[in-house]
């Protein structure tokens, strides 16, 4: 995974088991802005482990925003969200769910367990670009981030 680690750039993470989807996400995000570092992960369990160990040694590895897919094999997005929100070092990272599912129960479940937002994967690349534009505009430029890292 390329890690263009620059301190002034925001670290955006995506955990999604589909290589195609991570490609599309990266493609769209890069089109939106260049002041971000995108880190994509296919395995939620491995990412969680990584985040926990890295957070202990170096807070700079903690993402500024994390996108979580729901339907994943070993650990699904909901379990990942719950694990993230139950970890006292990681629970203030804004977590946005990023899924094809617009199932009411799924959406309610995620918000109930501390998701900062819920995005349904758009059906076209153009829409994805637009959506990410809004999301970054809000989470990077509009609101103040937490100071824990």
């Amino acid at each position: 995974m390329p890690m263009e680690n620059a301190t002034n750039k925001k670290l955006i993470m995506l955990v999604d088991d589909s290589e195609e989807d991570t490609f599309l996400f990266r493609h769209a995000a890069n089109k939106v802005r260049d002041d971000i570092v995108i880190s994509t992960h296919l395995d939620a369990t491995a990412l969680l482990e990584k985040l926990k160990t890295e957070r202990a040694s170096d807070a700079t590895h903690t993402p500024d925003l994390i996108f979580i897919d729901i339907n994943m094999p070993s650990m699904d997005g909901m379990a990942f969200l719950q694990a993230l929100k139950s970890d006292e070092n990681l629970n203030n990272v804004p977590a946005l769910m990023f899924s094809t599912s617009a199932y009411r129960k799924d959406i309610d479940f995620c918000y109930h367990h501390g998701a900062s937002g819920y995005l349904v994967k758009p059906s076209s690349n153009r829409d994805l670009v637009n959506k990410l534009n809004h999301v970054f505009d809000y989470w990077i430029d509009t609101v103040e981030a937490t100071q824990t890292h």
Binding site: S18, E20, D21, F23, L24, H27, N71, M72, P73, D76, T100, S101, Y103, K121, P122, S123, S124, N125, R126, L128
Partner: protein, 592 residues
């Protein structure tokens, strides 16, 4: 550029074909889903509707019966029965619930027999209870009448007493269905203080007939009048009472212990012979007759002889003097009877206690029998009468066990609802007998008596209708479990639909996105990533095809399973294994 343009055309065509296939498959699946949901909905709704309808009908008929019963004091006998019969018939029709499973003929015969036996018991219970309820009224009525200065004004009140006693006599007659049994029952009732009456047996046309002398019974009866009621019931009390009543006397005696006894005596045209001897004068005009009260002292007792005007037929009228003489003659007979039974008083008291105890036991047993007795008041034919005694003892035994079962907690009330409007109470008793669970339903309605002269306890009577609802209950349970199964199936289908749509959306979204990027790149003439994107496009398309085939397989297997579940509801499906399959369907798909 040309090759790339060609690639685009191929990719677009490929995409179009895939989309078309998907649309057709999805539409077909959706249609099937809709149809299935509608069918199951209709089945469950119709069955529930039937059940509710039956319960509603039952309540309506019971309500009608209680209305008639409440209004009975103001009705004459014929009207009473005419009003009572139809709702009772209607009530019985409810038992044949439309959707209840059919029973074989031999099962039905056994059921009918048990119905008959239970009906007899139910009616005995009803009569006993009615007698108990009416006892204070009789004392009150005759006392009022005797003490009234204007007997005429009280005539309607006395008449209103006639309807219930006729009802009881008729019921009792039907229940016991033999003059002998009836006489014994009346004697018992008289001894135990249930009613005030005396009985006698005469030989009429070489047939032994029992006669009831009831205190208030003063209606003129003739064979013709009662013909419709006597139909096929020759041995019932209605038949027994089919003699002509000519004169009635109420005699009140006061014994030395200052205890008051009223004895009702009806002098009747017993046969042509007795008629000739006693009443040959039928030319007396009706208007000459005046009610009279005479007090005579004999052997330390005061006797009041009252001539009951209503008891006289219009055909034969006695002058007051003659009536008094007749009364004195009858009193003399009574005195002789008393004299020959000097210890009658003591015996009476001892026997009274004994009988009271017996009747109280019997009543509590019968209360229990109610739980097993189906509804119905109707004629019992002569064949049944032969086995009456056996049946009664058998029922007593079974009722005793039912009573014990209730007392011991083996039979438990499993439901009770209360309807304010009709004051109807439903009880369900769950009795386990020989490993089988039986359900009974009691519908009771409290009725207020139209009198203010009795205590609070006596002011209310109850009409209780009881029926064996085992079949209905079992069918209902079966239906409910079927409905639950259907609901589960609906949930399963909903989950499946979700999985399918979600599954299909993903590769389609990817294909669309990659195609978009590809076309952007072609437009910008930037070929740096084209190969990678084309590969991803093809991968997504393959993924879509795989998902299609998975769904088609899934639909096929579901269709197979549905055939088993829906078209054979009686087939026992192992719930645990079935649930496992469903769980897989519902969740497995979602988590790929």
């Amino acid at each position: 550029m040309q090759t790339r343009g060609g690639n685009l055309v191929v990719a677009t065509l490929f995409l179009a074909i895939l989309c078309f296939t998907f649309a057709v498959a999805f539409l077909l699946y959706n249609e099937q889903l809709k149809q299935e949901k509608t069918t199951t909905d209709i089945i469950s709704r119709a069955a529930m509707h039937n059940l509710q309808h039956d319960i509603f009908e039952l309540e309506r008929y019971v309500s009608r019966i209680s209305q008639v019963y409440q209004a009975s004091p103001t009705m004459d006998r014929k009207t009473f029965w005419r009003s009572m019969r139809q709702p009772i018939r209607d009530l019985k029709t409810v038992q044949s619930i439309a959707w209840a499973p059919k029973v074989s003929k031999h099962q039905l015969t056994a059921w009918i027999n048990s119905q008959k036996a239970a009906k007899q018991t139910l009616m005995i219970y009803q009569v006993t209870r009615a007698l108990r309820d009416l006892e204070p009224l009789y004392y009150q009525a005759s006392g009022d009448w005797l003490n009234s200065p204007q007997p005429d004004s009280d005539v309607s009140y006395i008449q209103s007493m006639v309807a219930p006693i006729l009802y009881i006599e008729d019921e009792m007659g039907k229940v016991l269905n033999s003059a002998k049994h009836f006489r014994e029952a009346i004697e018992q009732a008289a001894i135990s203080g249930e009613i005030t009456a005396s009985s006698s047996e005469i030989n009429h046309k070489d047939k032994s007939i029992s006669l009831l002398f009831s205190p208030i019974y003063s209606e003129q009866l003739s064979l013709g009048d009662r013909k419709d009621l006597r139909r096929d019931r020759k041995k019932s009390i209605a038949g027994v009472l089919s003699f002509k009543v000519d004169a009635g006397l109420l005699i009140e005696s006061r014994f030395a212990q200052n205890k008051s006894h009223r004895l009702g005596i009806t002098v009747s045209e017993l046969s042509e012979k007795t008629e000739t001897v006693l009443f040959s004068n039928n030319e007396m005009p009706f208007g000459h007759y005046i009610n009279s009260t005479e007090e005579v002292k004999f052997f330390g007792n005061t006797w009041r002889i009252t001539v009951h005007r209503e008891a006289l037929s219009s055909a034969i009228i006695l002058p007051p003097a003659l009536a008094t003489i007749v009364g004195l003659m009858m009193m003399a007979v009574l005195l002789i009877w008393h004299a020959s039974n000097r210890r009658f008083g003591q015996e009476l008291h001892a026997k009274l206690e004994e009988q009271r105890l017996e009747i109280s036991n019997k009543t509590s047993l019968l209360e229990a029998v109610l739980a097993a007795a189906p509804v119905g008041i109707e004629y019992i034919d002569e064949n049944d009468a032969v086995q009456l005694q056996n049946n009664l003892s058998a029922i007593s035994l079974s009722s005793a066990s039912a009573h014990t079962a209730i007392a011991d907690g083996f039979a438990t009330p499993i439901g009770k609802t209360h309807h304010n409007e009709h004051k109807l109470e439903h009880y369900r008793l769950n009795t386990t007998t020989s490993g089988q669970t039986k359900y009974f339903e009691l519908i009771s309605k409290e009725i207020a008596k139209e009198t203010e002269d009795c205590s609070e306890d006596q002011k209310f009577g109850k009409i209780i209708v009881c029926s064996d609802v085992t079949e209905r209950e079992l069918s209902k349970q079966k239906l409910e479990s079927y409905v639950r199964e259907l609901e589960q199936m609906h949930q399963e289908l909903e989950d499946f639909t979700y999985s399918v749509t979600h599954d299909m959306q993903e590769p389609l979204r990817r294909i669309a996105s990659f195609a978009e990027i590809l076309s952007d790149q072609i437009a910008e003439d930037d070929a740096t990533q084209s190969t990678e994107i084309s590969e991803k496009l093809a991968l997504s398309a393959t993924d879509l095809r795989n998902r299609f085939s998975r769904i088609v397989t899934e639909i096929d297997s579901r269709n197979e399973r549905k055939k088993v579940n829906v078209h054979a509801p009686d087939t026992k499906v192992d719930p645990s294994s079935d649930n496992e399959i469903r769980k897989d369907d519902a969740h497995g798909k979602r988590h790929k």
